[in-house]
């Protein structure tokens, strides 16, 4: 049979089978499994049918726990049902998994296996999540590659129907889930041939039905529960044979034969590695290489990990084996060994195999590279007289010395495989172009193709590295390219920041996107780069891709230009054929976006070759340009020793001893990483500025700041440092400066949008305007440093920090985050840090804010000159409100205890000080400062207290009080997160916390989608908007979270939009914090994932308010106590139609473009709901 060959990622391959062989699919986003759900939802929206000719139903749930519950219910009602998840999501499914297995229910959950959050969260791949489920009674079947993911999804789905044991189909997150590879697909007939309709009907017959009722899910007593647990044993005993039979059936159908344990290598191997997952591909490649050279080594791939068939395992092992290395891609601290190791040891002991020495090892946690060199290192270790047990490979464990050494230069890469590495920016489209190249080569030639893409963790100015391999055989190399024969550097600036030529093999080709003419490019390269080019004898090509792209109307997207150059130089295809294929791919990719886009790309292709030049490489390096240090010399030791290598991309080299043992990292490290990512930066026009502070307030990255100071401070100012007479009536005679940190700016232009001043002679200019960054870099950096040396505004005194103008002068303690340029969330976070940061504890839900807030290498959470700043932590996604509540409980308890200790020690402390401490008015900054002073005095007294002046118990109290004295200063507890947390997965906890009456402040950064995982719908997503998981347009309205919270009566609630009314935002945040009870602020956060130009985010916020879509209001329970109406509507009646706001956004527009009738119906319905809600709010405001 002729089956289609396509290039796709593992997630798509898996979803391809899962969608076709199921009826009910419950989904919830979590990296790296989200795209499986996205494919399923999209196919449902397109009306794609399963093998029975009906469209499966795909339903997003509020959490993975919810998805598992829904699947449990669907299964019990008789459906064929599935879900997709990873990591924490799988953990949330565990309770239901026990039930589903206990009830012997056929289903498959597909898992893009991922690390678990421990000392830190990690989105990357390992087996920790799957291993955490091994007691649930589920069969666990691993696949190791994209092709295997498709095959194993099929085998698992077929097997579970017969076995009645539910299956986890696991494959490695990212390495398999996101690797693009050429595979052979199945036809619907193939899938149907594997699924027995008789077994499907049997599955249905076991379902709950009122037409033949029974109960399931009983409670059992000590008399029978145990027997019940044992009753299913026969099914588990039968499962291995059923899986093998299914594998054999599959082999007969498609020709790919799998076994429960697949052995590869020398038949007489003495040293054998046992492992699971994508690492097997690398290990097999290495074993093939070594056996071809006469080594007696082998690999045993474990496919069915549960139920673990001892017999099959032993049978699969060559009898010649002497040493086994059992590799686990997980860590079980404190165990006698990791899970697979323990099973292997048990299997050997139970089966009486003797003379085999077994060594356990850990590798590849959180997508740590696993290379042929490491495999070789393990085999070498097994050759030693006393191999290390419980070893690690791939890291340098210089603490407990578990790691094995290996020769990183060892390579098994074949000469006939083209290995290409591309360095680009997210914004330049490099990854998309490379995906197209893989499709061209994979689908239009006989070559096999593999693509794997590495992104850094910043959301603005992020670097991407594409690793592409093409060759005549299926590509098994599941590791990054370490020796490339083609290197493309799509951003010239990378030469000064990273060692981008490290991966270039001798004689490799280098393609440079250079902003300089070809002949001038050589002189612009750093000396070390020139030397590398000469030493490695690289062949260098240059193109000004930006100019070509710009001329073709492509803006900054050099993707098509660079792709064309790659094909032209690499010779993977004849040039003319390559051009034709690129154009064909362009039409396929962009055709539905309109002919204009296609033509623009064609123009870029046609212009590329004319502008591509080969560079003559001189014999000697001549450049005076040196690579600057990663961080400045004045950075603290930790930053120099730990952070800087991570920034430079050298984190893999960090030894274990360099790591903080408990996940604790210093605050305020983004300030040392000067990213210089903005092409244009704001420049202040001191002459026309009215010093309103709006630009400072709106700047998402805290790169614009203002200060008022004495003129005398300017004595040592740099020549270009600007200042103006301060326009603050409280501070007469002072000077004012608005300063930009041009090296930290992302160039988002929100500041320009926020500026209300127009130049009277040139109306196109404002008091802050964009200008090219490069010419300003040095002078403005010096100005920034001088600005930082100016005194910060005192937090109390003449200025009251109750309005935008004054608040703008407070030092932000959240700065230079890696959030998207123009982020709509960060201005709120920054504001909170300005107002309360020096006494704030912050619980941050997992999501965008936890990533730009806490993803290594640096953190934007900062500290002031006194060393105070926000104490920030991220627990999980689902528990953030509870996490913050725990902080509040602690603050309250310890403050109370501190009060009690002060009371107990009143005489020793001194009555006056004790009374002042206990009854301090801390309602404003002056009061807080006074209390801080008292606490300092108190601590000094406590320190002086010792034996002789006090009793033993008093000394103990004094020590206790000294450790808790800081609690006597008022703390501010903040609970922050996005709408995915607040509206969906964390809502139950949030509701409980709000109902607690305790003094916590909840800030919901409402982007109306799951932004961090790529824009899936939440219950905040508005009616009629398109999002992932709502590909047909969201059919239901946005949840009224504020209304629900107001129903408690004692919760301060506000809806704010800083772009629409900044003064309202400042006022309500101050009120919310001051309120001695729970508060909830729902903050409109424009987001790139709404499909807007974030540079116009503030305008869009204003339109949201003007249309009545986002009414501004606050509900202050203290007003009720004063006999007033607690609800105040703070924005006027709708002035524009919802459409005038909504259709500025792609999320609404693409529905009207793809399904105009539905779009019209939904927007009409949304307008109706909006009007009704407005009337309701008006009534509430009237009281």
């Amino acid at each position: 049979m002729n089956r289609p060959l396509e290039t796709m990622e593992g997630n798509e391959a898996t979803a391809y089978v899962a969608y076709r062989a199921n009826e009910v699919i419950a989904i919830y986003p979590i990296t790296p499994s989200s795209t499986m759900g996205e494919y399923a939802d999209q196919w449902m929206a397109e009306g794609k049918k399963n093998i029975w000719g009906t469209v499966p139903v795909v339903k997003e749930m509020q959490s993975e726990g919810g998805a598992a519950g829904a699947i449990h219910g669907a299964l019990q009602a008789g459906a064929l049902a599935t879900t997709f998840t990873a990591s924490q999501g799988l953990l949330l499914m565990i309770p239901n998994m026990y039930k589903i297995a206990g009830e012997l229910t056929s289903t498959v959950f597909h898992i893009a296996a991922r690390a678990l959050a421990a000392q830190a969260l990690s989105i990357f791949g390992d087996h920790s999540d799957v291993m955490a489920t091994r007691m649930t009674g589920w069969a666990i079947l691993f696949s190791n590659s994209v092709q295997e993911a498709l095959d194993t999804a099929m085998i698992a789905t077929a097997s579970t129907l017969e076995a009645r044991v539910p299956f986890l189909h696991a494959f490695d997150g990212f390495r398999t889930s996101s690797e693009v590879n050429k595979i052979e697909l199945l036809t619907n007939d193939d899938i149907h041939a594997m699924i027995s309709d008789e077994l499907v009907r049997a599955h249905r017959a076991r379902a709950l039905s009122p037409d033949h009722p029974f109960i399931r899910g009983s409670a059992q007593n000590p008399d029978v529960y145990f027997q019940g647990r044992e009753s299913a044993n026969p099914y588990y005993l039968a499962t291995p044979e059923i899986v093998q039979k299914t594998m054999d059936q599959y082999a007969a159908l498609v020709g790919r034969q799998y076994h429960l344990f697949d052995y590869a290598g020398a038949p007489d191997a003495e040293r054998i590695i046992v492992m699971m997952g994508s690492g097997c591909e690398t290990a097999e490649e290495t074993v093939d290489y070594l056996t071809a050279r006469g080594e007696k080594v082998g690999l045993l791939k474990v496919r069915l990990f549960r139920p673990f068939s001892v017999q099959h395992f032993v049978d699969a092992l060559p009898k010649s084996v002497q040493h086994l290395a059992v590799l686990d891609r997980t860590k079980e601290p404190g165990s006698a060994g990791e899970p697979l190791y323990q099973d292997v040891v048990t299997a050997l002991v139970e089966s009486g195999v003797s003379g085999v020495r077994v060594f356990g090892g850990r590798y590849g946690l959180a997508s740590k590279e696993f290379t042929p060199a490491m495999v070789k290192g393990i085999f070498d270790e097994l050759s030693k007289a006393q191999p290390k047990n419980h070893f690690t490979i791939g890291i340098n464990d210089d603490v407990t010395h578990t790691s094995l050494s290996y020769d990183p230069a060892f390579s098994t890469e074949a000469d006939d495989v083209v290995r290409a590495v591309f360095y680009g920016l997210g914004a330049d489209g490099t990854v998309g172009a490379n995906k197209n190249s893989i499709k061209i080569i994979g689908e239009e030639t006989s070559n096999y193709a593999q693509g794997y893409f590495v992104y850094d963790s910043r959301k603005s100015g992020s670097q991407t590295t594409s690793h592409l391999r093409f060759g005549p055989r299926p590509i098994k190399s599941t590791y990054l390219i370490s020796s490339a024969n083609f290197v493309a550097v799509h951003q010239f600036g990378f030469f000064e920041r990273y060692n981008v030529l490290e991966l270039a093999a001798p004689g490799a080709t280098l393609l440079i996107n250079s902003p300089f003419p070809a002949e001038a490019t050589w002189d612009q390269l750093p000396n070390t780069v020139q030397q590398q080019i000469i030493d490695k004898k690289l062949k260098v090509y240059v193109i000004d891709g930006y100019q070509v792209a710009k001329d073709a109307g492509m803006g900054n997207r050099v993707n098509t230009v660079m792709q064309t150059c790659f094909f032209a130089i690499s010779g993977v295809l004849p040039r003319d054929e390559a051009i034709a294929q690129i154009k064909k791919a362009i039409r396929k990719t962009y055709g539905k976006r309109g002919e204009a886009v296609v033509q623009r790309n064609y123009a870029a292709v046609d212009a590329s070759l004319d502008n591509l030049h080969e560079l003559h490489v001189p014999m000697q390096a001549s450049s005076a340009i040196a690579m600057p240090p990663t961080v400045p010399p004045q950075a603290p030791d930790f930053v120099q020793q730990f952070t800087a290598p991570l920034i430079a991309g050298e984190g893999d080299r960090m030894p274990v001893s360099a790591m903080p043992v408990d996940g604790t990292y210093p605050s305020g490290t983004t300030r040392w990483e000067k990213r210089n990512i903005a092409q244009e930066v704001p420049v202040w026009d001191a002459d026309i500025c009215i010093q309103c502070g709006k630009c400072v307030l709106e700047c998402p990255h805290a790169v614009i700041r203002s200060k008022v100071y004495d003129a005398a401070e300017l004595v040592n100012a740099p020549a270009t440092f600007k200042s103006a007479d301060a326009r603050f009536k409280e501070l007469p005679g002072k000077k004012y400066t608005l300063q930009v940190s041009v090296e930290d700016c992302t160039g988002c232009t929100l500041c320009v949008e926020a500026c209300p001043v127009k130049n009277k002679s040139q109306a196109g200019l404002k008091a802050i305007n964009m200008a090219p960054q490069r010419p300003l870099r040095e002078t403005e950096s010096a100005n920034w440093d001088f600005f930082l040396s100016l005194p910060e505004a005192p937090r109390y005194g003449e200025l009251k920090f109750i309005n935008v103008k004054n608040v703008a002068m407070l030092q932000p303690l959240f700065e230079f985050s890696g959030a998207c340029a123009g982020c709509g969330e960060t201005p709120y976070i920054k504001l909170v840090s300005q107002l309360f940061g020096d006494r704030a504890l912050i619980a941050n839900a997992t999501g965008c804010s936890s990533i730009y807030g806490g993803n290594l290498p640096t953190t934007p959470w900062s500290l002031n000159k006194e060393g105070r700043g926000p104490a920030w932590s991220n627990s999980l996604f689902e528990d953030n409100a509870e996490f913050g509540l725990g902080m509040r409980l602690t603050v309250d308890r310890q403050t109370q205890y501190a009060h009690e200790l002060v009371e107990r020690m009143r005489d020793l402390i001194g009555t006056e000080l004790a009374v002042q401490v206990l009854h301090a008015d801390q309602s404003d900054e002056a009061g807080i400062a006074a209390q801080r002073q008292r606490v300092t005095e108190l601590k000094m007294k406590l320190q002086a207290m010792g034996a002789g002046t006090a009793s033993d118990s008093q000394v103990a109290w004094a020590r206790d009080l000294a450790s808790l004295a800081d609690m006597l200063v008022k703390k501010s507890v903040w609970i922050m997160g996005g709408d995915g947390w607040a509206y969906d997965i964390g809502y139950g906890g949030l509701d409980h916390v709000l109902a607690s009456g305790l003094n916590v402040n909840v800030l919901v950064l409402d982007t109306e989608v799951y932004s961090n995982t790529g824009g899936q719908a939440s219950k905040s997503t508005p009616l009629g908007a398109v999002a992932k998981f709502a590909a047909s347009g969201k059919p239901s309205g946005k949840k009224d979270l504020g209304g629900m919270a107001m129903s408690y009566g004692n919760v301060y609630v506000a809806e704010v939009a800083v772009g629409a009314n900044d003064a309202h935002t400042v006022r309500t945040i101050l009120e919310a914090e001051a309120y001695n009870g729970p508060s909830l602020i729902i903050a409109y956060s424009h987001c790139i994932q709404q499909g807007i130009d974030t540079a116009k985010g503030l305008t869009q916020q204003k339109l949201a308010v003007d249309s009545g879509y986002w009414p501004l209001y606050h509900y202050n329970p203290t007003l009720k106590a004063q006999g007033k109406n607690p609800f105040v509507l703070d924005s006027g009646a709708p002035k524009i139609a919802l459409k005038d706001y909504a259709y500025n956004e792609t999320r609404y527009r693409i529905l009207s473009q793809s399904n105009p009738e539905v779009a019209e119906r939904l927007i009409t319905e949304a307008q109706k709901e909006l009007t009704e809600r407005w009337h309701k709010l008006e009534q509430m405001a009237k009281g």
Partner: protein
């Protein structure tokens, strides 16, 4: 009494035709116009520039920020199709043809030679009875000469006429140095009708925010004067049909237009402002007026007051200006009346 007229070879039951406007943006709107008595409909314009813009905007927002971050490689589901391009417009023409009994005249504004020709052909294929080329071009480039601009118009008409078989009308700008010559040259390129004149939407200034803002001003009857004059001048001198399209608001305006030489008078502002029921009222007024003055047919009056027929050629030329100047009085504070 015969109210019928023939425009672009199409027999119309009366000469009050809705011009290109948002009223024809939906099938429902088109049906309402027919029900209100429209004898033909000029569809809203298909703007090639808008299609290009929509396409580029869609591409920009679907691409922007993607493939930058490992957890969020894209932001939107990949919709099966996007109605980017002329399909929606063409489908509407087809549906309008199927749903109505009256001629449907497509309207096109292109920017590229290929675009004009391609879209003209597709509008014809969609079933349009005729095509109006809405050449909306603001020559802002100081280096671009008048003859270049004129040639551009002529080339468009030539290319479109070569590529379609349905009649083609040209909606003209009033800003030509030699309007009569331009009309003549357009006719020689094959234009079947001239529609006078296109109204350019003029931006306004927002003094509060110091911004130029797009501003749509509906026409008034005062604006009739300009096309009235030019149709009266060109009638019989240039062998094409004429339509008047600016400032037609009431029966009197229609009568004037016809008498100047227009085969049809077109209106949009009046219908947008007061509803499509105005067509019936104006036609009724036309009928009454004609009855009162014992006219037999509309044809009888078409061009009756054109320059060639009025016997007062100077009224349309310099004398008109002189007469206006003569009416000025110092007490009007310098404002011409």
């Amino acid at each position: 009494m015969d109210l019928s007229t023939t425009y672009l070879g199409l027999k119309l039951k009366h000469p009050v035709v809705p011009s290109a406007s948002p009223l024809s943006k939906s099938l429902d709107g088109i049906r309402k116009l027919e029900d209100a008595g429209a004898p033909a409909i000029v569809m809203y314009s298909l703007f090639e520039e808008q299609i290009i813009w929509d396409s580029q905007v869609l591409d920009h927002y679907l691409s922007f920020g993607t493939e930058s971050f490992s957890e969020a490689r894209t932001f939107f589901p990949d919709m099966k199709t996007y109605n980017i391009g002329p399909e929606e417009y063409l489908n509407l023409i087809s549906k309008a043809k199927a749903a109505t009994q009256i001629p449907i005249i497509g309207s096109l504004n292109g920017v590229s030679t290929g675009g004009w020709v391609d879209y003209a052909q597709r509008i014809q294929q969609a079933g349009a009875d005729a095509l109006e080329l809405n050449i909306y071009y603001i020559p802002t480039d100081p280096l671009r000469t008048g003859p270049e601009v004129e040639q551009m118009y002529l080339d468009v008409v030539r290319d479109v006429k070569r590529s379609v078989s349905i009649p083609v009308a040209i909606k003209l700008s009033p800003y030509f140095s030699a309007t009569a010559n331009m009309a003549h040259r357009l006719a020689t390129q094959g234009a079947d009708a001239l529609v006078l004149f296109n109204r350019f939407y003029q931006p306004d200034f927002d003094l509060e925010n110091l911004e130029a803002i797009p501003h749509l001003m509906l026409s008034t009857s005062n604006e009739l004067r300009l096309p009235l004059r030019w149709v009266a001048i060109l009638y019989r001198r240039v062998a094409v049909d004429f339509a008047i399209t600016s400032g037609v608001h009431n029966t009197e305006d229609v009568l004037k237009g016809l008498m100047a030489g227009a085969k049809v008078t077109m209106m949009a502002s009046e219908l947008l402002l007061k509803g499509v029921g105005r067509i019936g009222q104006i036609v009724e007024g036309l009928q009454t007026w004609m009855e009162n003055r014992e006219y037999d047919s509309v044809n009888q009056m078409i061009g009756s007051m054109s320059q060639v027929n009025l016997g007062q050629p100077e009224v349309f030329e310099r004398a008109n200006y002189m007469k206006v100047l003569g009416s000025w009085r110092p007490d009007t504070a310098g404002v011409l009346v």
